[in-house]
């Protein structure tokens, strides 16, 4: 039931998004909408009284506008408050550039790690039956319910100077905490479930028939995976990568604990925002923050497009 109804609602939403962007196109909506929406109206459902409808929509607009949109608008307004020159000067500061570079590297590492892990885990979980599968899924989801600060803390306990492996690392001159490896590890921890979670439901739904067909025709396991499975899950995989990337670039708590806050060296973009803001360089802080805000908006746009794509892939 849920499986069937989901793509329809997404398509409906997309159709509506299209009609809404065309300014006066709202009148066309009923004709443009595919069959999914029609029964809902044709059923002759009792509508809520106009005043209820009006107040619910008003509360929604005011709440979302005041609580969610205003902060976002504020970031962009503050970033450009001192003019475009100050904005670009703030972004081309060497420390900010270093922060942007570090953030890109960390995000790339965590996306790569989670794609490999995600595909392996989803393959094992969806193509085979074994005992303890539900426990495994719960454990994979675990990082979602751990506070980011604790995600950072555990790596300090392991690799910090007073941590379990700290003395050994110090002797061998390997730096994990207050360096890139620690930042990457903490980021991988907090983004751990993102890719797998998108893959498991889809691969479960698709079953193993196509893989079996390929194998029975003599394809090797790897070839089957690359030519059959991967194309089938590519949009869901991309969706997971998108969410993983957004979280990796924006992660603050976990990274803050392990980074050591060395400007130009171990500050990621969110940490650079904090450093600038605490240093009363508000304009520069908002300039860097605006990049992260734009990243968030871009992520949302791609997400909506991908959702439509995935829905399309599911309808026969």
């Amino acid at each position: 039931m849920t499986v069937l109804s989901r793509p329809e609602t997404v398509i409906e939403a997309m159709t509506e998004a299209m009609t809404e962007t065309m300014s006066e196109a709202d009148l066309l909506e009923p004709q443009l909408m595919p069959s999914a929406a029609v029964p809902r109206r044709a059923a002759g459902v009792r509508e809520d009284p106009a005043w209820v409808r009006g107040s619910v929509i008003a509360v929604t607009v005011v709440f979302l506008g005041g609580f969610i949109v205003l902060p976002l608008v504020h970031v962009l307004a503050q970033a450009f408050a001192h003019g475009i020159r100050v904005y670009f000067a703030a972004l081309s500061d060497p420390d900010s550039l270093a922060a942007i570079r570090l953030t890109l590297v960390v995000a790339a590492l965590s996306v790569a790690a989670n794609v490999v892990f995600g595909l392996a885990a989803a393959w094992a979980i969806t193509k085979f039956t074994f005992r303890g599968k539900n426990l495994l899924i719960t454990l994979i989801d675990l990082p979602f319910s751990v506070s980011p600060v604790i995600a950072g803390l555990v790596f300090v306990l392991l690799f910090g100077l007073q941590g379990y492996f700290g003395p050994w690392l110090a002797v061998h001159d390997i730096r994990i905490i207050f360096a890139l490896p620690g930042i990457a590890l903490a980021t991988i921890f907090v983004t751990f479930p993102f890719v797998v979670r998108e893959l498991i439901p889809l691969m479960q739904e698709q079953g193993t028939e196509e893989e079996e067909a390929a194998l029975s025709l003599g394809a090797s396991g790897l070839r089957t995976f690359v030519r059959v499975t991967l194309p089938n899950v590519r949009w869901a995989l991309l969706y997971g990568v998108l969410l993983c990337n957004a979280r990796a670039m924006g992660e603050f708590g976990a990274v803050s604990v392990v980074s050591g806050h060395i400007r130009g060296e171990t500050n990621t973009m969110p940490l650079q925002v904090e450093a600038l803001y605490d240093g009363y360089q508000s304009a520069a802080a908002f300039a860097v923050a605006s990049l992260l805000a734009l990243l968030a908006l871009l992520t949302l746009f791609i997400k909506i497009a991908l959702e439509a794509r995935i829905a399309k892939g599911r309808t026969p």
Binding site: V45, T60, L72, F117, V146, S147, V149, L157, E274, A293
Partner: protein, 283 residues
């Protein structure tokens, strides 16, 4: 679908790669998640029971817990109410801009917490767009517990909306029709027909928003003011103890928070099962 599912079960063993994929999964899971979390328990074990209790019941720690859990409950409750209103508008009504509002709900998910943190702080500070309006009324938000509450409402909203929305979309409208045609008023229908079928989702959304709020750090620390015993949240106290190299104290606080998080996870799982049973019954 069901034919495919039946076929899948019979010939699973044909598919190769079980050993290597499960092995990779378990190894990576252990290295990145399980062993590090294990270190947390190991470190806490260095404290005696009495020491542990002394740490987590000290005045400053207790206050931080009270603040974190109390404000998270309040924020989740506000999100439950407003989130439900938002869901109702998005699912039941058709109006221009609906799709845009739907997309806006995801902003707190996508916006990095530090960005949300400085934005909210600067908005609600005394000279800010909202803070400036509230100051003449004598209401101070930034650098007070009220500010923490605002940040927690911000980050928690999508959890309620995205959990409740699909359930309301799936509610069989024929039930409402039936209830109405049998003479029930709109209010009775909502209360007796709709509310029970949405209850598990409402509670799940509430729990998820609460769990997220308890652990939240980035969006809170900028606006909180971070005064010990006034506006200092538990995650911040962990960071402070860590900076003082009081690792055992930091882990003791973390263990309590982790236990609470796992309890919430358990509750959410129970709710999910409950909801599945409900849905099963309906079909």
């Amino acid at each position: 679908m069901s034919a495919a599912a039946a076929g899948m079960r019979r010939s699973r063993s044909v598919i190769p790669g079980f050993g290597i994929t499960l092995g990779t999964t378990l190894l990576w899971l252990s290295l990145v998640v399980l062993i590090p979390l294990g270190a947390l328990f190991l470190k806490t074990a260095e404290l005696s029971a009495a020491q542990f209790v002394a740490v987590v019941t000290s005045r400053r720690v207790l206050h931080a817990f009270e603040l974190s859990f109390g404000l998270s409950l309040a924020a989740a409750a506000v999100n439950l109410v407003f989130g439900t209103i938002v869901v109702w508008a998005l699912v039941r009504y058709r109006f221009p801009g609906r799709r845009l509002l739907d997309a806006i709900v995801d902003i707190p998910f996508a916006l990095p917490t530090a960005v949300a943190g400085i934005a909210l702080t600067s908005l609600y500070a005394e000279g800010g767009w909202i803070g400036g309006l509230l100051a003449p009324l004598g209401i101070r938000v930034a650098f007070t517990p009220l500010g923490i509450f605002v940040a927690l409402v911000f980050i928690g909203l999508p959890f309620v909306v995205r959990t409740v929305q699909p359930v309301l979309e799936d509610v069989d409208r024929e039930l409402e029709e039936a209830s109405a045609s049998l003479g029930a008023s709109r209010w009775i229908t909502v209360r007796r027909v709709l509310f029970p079928s949405m209850l598990p989702a409402l509670l799940t959304g509430f729990s998820l928003a609460f769990a997220r709020a308890v652990g939240e750090y980035g969006s809170v620390i900028f606006i909180a003011g971070n005064l010990p015993n006034v506006s200092e949240i538990a995650p911040l106290l962990i960071v402070i103890r860590l900076q003082e190299f009081r690792y055992a104290d930091a882990t003791a606080i973390a263990i309590v928070m982790l236990a609470a998080a796992f309890a919430m996870l358990f509750v959410v799982n129970l709710l999910q099962r409950w909801s599945e049973i409900r849905m099963g019954k309906r079909q």
